[in-house]
């Protein structure tokens, strides 16, 4: 992205990796949502009212499951984003911020566990 002789700054490399994590997670979630929505509409049964985190693969019609998995994946993309940052900062030897990121990951893990237990 920059001139060939110029070394790319570490922070910019990190930004590019994060950009791909964001794009990849979002694209996959959108594809699943579109497929699920089309299947749900085509199936006539327009969808299950509610879905629980632990039952995204097992409840409802095929369309519902595509949508539910897409939504669960979307909800997980921020977790992956933080994980990617921790790995990038570890690679950059920025231990201080890698530790800060790890703390945020722990909070998110607690949240997922809370949701499962609900």
């Amino acid at each position: 992205l920059s001139a060939e002789a110029e070394p790319v700054p570490a922070s910019h490399r990190g930004h590019v990796y994060i950009q791909w994590v964001l794009r990849g997670g979002l694209a996959l979630a959108v594809v699943l949502l579109v497929i699920g929505l089309v299947l749900a509409i085509a199936g006539g049964e327009h969808g299950r009212a509610a879905v629980h985190l632990g039952h995204v693969f097992s409840e409802g019609s095929v369309g519902d499951r595509f949508v539910a998995v897409g939504l669960a994946l979307l909800a997980l993309t921020p977790v992956v984003r933080v994980l990617a940052l921790v790995l990038i900062w570890l690679a950059e030897r920025d231990r201080k911020f890698a530790l800060i990121g790890a703390i945020v990951l722990a909070v998110l893990a607690f949240s997922i566990a809370t949701g499962h237990g609900g």
């Binding site: 700054p9 570490a10 922070s11 910019h12 990190g14 930004h15 590019v16 994060i18 950009q19 964001l22 997670g25 979002l26 979630a29 959108v30 949502l33 579109v34 699920g36 929505l37 749900a40 509409i41 049964e45 327009h46 969808g47 299950r48 009212a49 509610a50 879905v51 629980h52 985190l53 409802g60 519902d64 539910a68 939504l71 669960a72 979307l74 909800a75 997980l76 993309t77 921020p78 977790v79 984003r81 933080v82 940052l85 900062w89 950059e92 920025d94 911020f97 800060i100 990121g101 703390i103 945020v104 909070v107 998110l108 607690f110 949240s111 809370t114 949701g115 499962h116 237990g117 609900g118």
Partner: protein, 297 residues
């Protein structure tokens, strides 16, 4: 859980299209002014579609993640986002998010609408008072746009400002105070289904010496992580309705990408005024809802 045996719901095509359009508008506005769009979407779902506030909040949180991811991919690519600042503030914000989510489960829906109105009213008043953002950071004039950077180990960085025509160097101050506001923003986000950017953006700009556009981009990155910290609470309790959420999320993602493309050309003051006007409208509507006045039955 009572909702585990949830019935099938049928949404006619026109309603799916209306939900998509609502998401499109909310996503555009959200990305443009640095909020997740939830500030518009929750009242729209509650007041316009008659959806229960807790289901609307869960729906909104997923769209906040969609906005943050779509807009974030653009902002991060431009180097506008300070990811270190985002994650450092997220310690407080994500703890606030979980707390807010757990609180919302036990608070009655009408009370939630009332709290929503109060928060929005206070925020809009603050934003109107501070409609003119002070410029922060040192400017090095340049006609050549460059990628933004952030320094390792500290909270500082640079970005190219199209309006000021130059590279702005900034250093974050008063982190502890900012974290307290971030904690509150997280709790508000988890409880009301909004991104909390309307608190974080002014906090970063006015209190922490972060340039407005970096604050918007960093907030946009953060709100997805904050929403994730509370959305699982709602997911686990059956407040996520897949067919309802899917068209809105798709609309929001499309709107957010368009809104992000426009944000680079909007001036600071314009961003703030739009945000303030939106908040006032929302506050009045939600106050009416809390008082039992339903515009749409």
């Amino acid at each position: 859980m009572a909702l585990s045996a949830a019935p099938m719901i049928t949404l006619p095509l026109w309603k799916l299209a209306a939900l998509f359009a609502s998401g499109l508008g909310a996503g555009f506005l959200g990305a443009w002014v640095g909020i997740g769009g939830g500030v518009v979407l929750v009242p729209l779902l509650v007041l316009g579609f008659g959806i229960d506030p807790k289901i609307a909040i869960a729906t909104s949180l997923l769209t906040v993640i969609g906005t943050s991811t779509a807009a974030g991919s653009v902002y991060v690519g431009r180097g506008m986002t300070n990811t270190r600042l985002a994650i450092a503030l997220e310690i407080a914000t994500s703890i606030g998010g979980i707390t807010g989510g757990l609180l919302a489960i036990v608070v009655p829906s009408d009370a939630l609408a009332g709290i929503f109105a109060l928060v929005m009213g206070a925020t809009s008043a603050l934003m109107l008072r501070n409609a003119r953002t002070r410029e922060v950071g040192e400017l090095t004039p340049s006609d050549t746009p460059t990628e933004g950077t952030e320094e390792a180990g500290v909270l500082a960085g640079t970005y190219y400002d199209l309006t000021r025509k130059g590279v702005v160097h900034y250093r974050v101050t008063r982190f502890a105070g900012g974290s307290l506001i971030a904690l509150l923003a997280g709790a508000v986000s988890g409880m009301l289904g909004v991104g909390g950017g309307f608190l974080k953006v002014p906090a970063m700009n006015l209190a922490m010496d972060v340039p407005m556009k970096v604050a918007v981009a960093t907030s946009n990155f953060m709100i997805g992580v904050t929403a994730a910290s509370s959305v699982f609470v709602y997911f686990g309790r059956g407040y996520v309705h897949p067919l309802l959420v899917a068209p809105i999320v798709l609309g929001v993602v499309a709107g957010a990408l368009a809104g992000t493309a426009y944000s680079g050309r909007a001036s600071h003051a314009a961003i703030k005024r739009v945000l303030a006007i939106v908040l006032i409208v929302v506050a009045v509507q939600m106050a009416l809802r809390a008082l039992g006045v339903h515009l749409v039955s």
